[in-house]
Symmetry: C2
Subunit: 336 residues, 2 copies
DNA sequence: GTGAAAGCGCTAACAG
DNA sequence: CTGTTAGCGCTTTCAC
């Protein structure tokens, strides 16, 4: 990259570097004429102040990191959209890091973010994440952090979540009210608070409706697609297979459809299904899919807005407040 | 963010800053004992070298920018996955910029990237982009740039594309061979080379099969969803409506399904449809959707690999070579 | 209003 | 093998 520097402009205008700097920042202590001269030459030369130099000096990067498990999932894709919308508006740049559900990667990424590369972090933890030391470390160093969707409940920081417990409670109740005698839960992980909440909602509905809770009806999914596919196939091949399924992970829904097709199990006659999914195409699946739709875009916006707010008014600590945006149950043909 | 600096480590170990710097970079001219001492203290203090300082000094950012129209589209989501995979492996960080199909934003974003914030750029232009001056400006300044998917054909830089002409040719021929008498094309834009190629393939097939080309059967879609929905509804409400549709934009497929549902037009009996789409769920739509599936993940990987290669071997210019990865036509029930 | 000077934290000659 | 020195390009006191 070729370099046009402040100094060059200063020399060409017979001014000092500081004057140029101030003029470019529209400081009120520079005469209008000078400002104009500077601005003119700057645009002519297409001058853009060096990012590292000003970053080093001002100790800011105007950048936030988004650390998420993956992007090929409509929830996170939409969340990024929301994040990017407010970041762009507020003048922040957005770094994306995918952990691919690997705890080790998450640790390594967060560790490196302590070097001044970013001013703040938006985080949705991996399904593997079992302890919080790496997150706490960041926080201790004063890094503004907002967790969203997959949060650590015991972390003293801002959180944006949806009503997971209630949603899965409603989903389960809906399946039972549609006549399901045995509802299985495809869970995302054993460690996520989000998963625990969805499990709790599921249990609560079962109990309320007088259904027994069978631990074997809860399948903890892995990050490997084929393994999950195998789990689902096994589950549905069983003679005592469930007649209702709650998929708490979007991709699982597709797998269930696939398995049902292969096993010739009619949805919704033999098996009813509701999925936590943000797919636009849910309404056009065969049969159309009953979904719990999370407010992904708005959660992204809320998370970014919260973070940017803190970053604007400097040295104000982030409030450990939790914001809950509601999901909505869209009832379609996959549940009858 | 609290600061642990190189100097502090130096002082505590009674060594010079340069020794610490070299030790941390595992320079072969530092004694093993010193290295160990340094490393120990560094890990103990959780030292991470300041990003801006080293960036300013070394004139690199180890960061690449990905400038794309949007992310809530499975093509770009998968492409990001591919990009991130190789970037992470090669030690590069990934900045995401969404243009939302706005040419002005694209200009503004590319302009700001000239400040040393990134070492290279991956670009898929907007549907609005009519000229190349802003891109050329970047290139002139020596910024390594790889275009992918939506490229400028007349730009002297590396490009990763798919066989758009052939794909839409095959798609059109397929529709005609399924009995369609009148095939419409939902185009992404009037200015993209990609769209021109898809149009050319469509025309070629029509001509080969002795079908007339009707300009009114080509609908240039806008970036506003509702407008496109309206176009599609108008198109299909017409008495002389087409009996075959090629949607060159993923979202359009959903709109077509929706319109057909509303107008009570059975797919595939009344209207057959093939869409350029990477949706995992295409096979489970009602009816299952015939798609042209682009190698999104691999295109992302290829683009990033090309860029990283150039960035590794410094000051080597990017080769203006075009790499073509083939799309594949998946025939399903929406055409048959 | 403008300039001089110092320094952000690190790296890379150049010495020894 | 290690230290000294200079400086990346910018911002910001402090002078005038």
């Amino acid at each position: 990259m070729e370099k046009v520097t402040l100094k060059q402009i200063a020399k060409r205008l017979n001014l000092s570097a500081s004057t140029i700097s101030r003029a470019l920042q529209d400081s009120h202590q520079i005469s209008p004429q000078t400002k104009q001269k500077v601005l003119e030459l700057a645009t002519e030369l297409n001058f853009v102040p060096n990012y590292h130099a000003s970053g080093l000096r001002k100790k800011v990067s105007k950048t936030i990191a988004v650390v998420i498990p993956e992007v090929a999932d409509s929830y996170f894709a939409q969340a990024i959209n929301g994040i990017e919308a407010v970041a762009q508006e507020q003048g922040f740049h957005v770094l994306i890091y995918l952990t691919h559900e690997s705890f080790l990667k998450e640790q390594a990424i967060l560790r490196e973010l302590q070097n001044g590369r970013v001013d703040g972090v938006l985080l949705a933890i991996t399904a593997e994440t079992s302890h919080n030391r790496h997150i706490r470390e960041l926080l201790n160093r004063g890094m503004p952090l907002v967790m969203f969707d997959r949060v650590c409940e015991d972390m003293e920081t801002a959180k944006i979540i949806t009503n997971d417990l209630e949603s899965s409670y409603l989903a389960t109740r809906h399946l039972i009210s549609c006549g399901c005698k045995r509802v299985a839960l495809l869970s995302a992980s054993n460690s996520l608070a989000m998963s625990a909440n969805r499990l709790a909602g599921y249990k609560k509905a079962l109990q309320e409706q007088g259904h027994p809770f069978r631990p074997t009806d809860v399948i903890a999914c892995s990050k490997a697609e084929d393994v999950n596919y195998f789990f689902i196939k096994t589950l549905l091949s069983n003679a005592h297979r469930p007649d209702g399924i709650i998929a708490t992970v979007e991709k699982q829904a597709t797998s269930v459809y696939q398995v049902c097709q292969e096993l010739n199990l009619n949805i919704p006659q033999k098996v009813k299904i509701v999925a936590f999914s943000n797919l636009q195409s849910a309404a056009f699946l065969n049969p159309s899919l009953t979904t719990v739709m999370q407010p992904a875009f708005d959660m992204g916006k809320a998370a970014a807005a919260n973070l940017c707010k803190v970053l604007k008014r400097k040295n104000l600590n982030i409030l450990p407040e939790t914001q809950v945006l509601p999901s909505v149950l869209h009832i379609r043909n996959s549940t009858g």
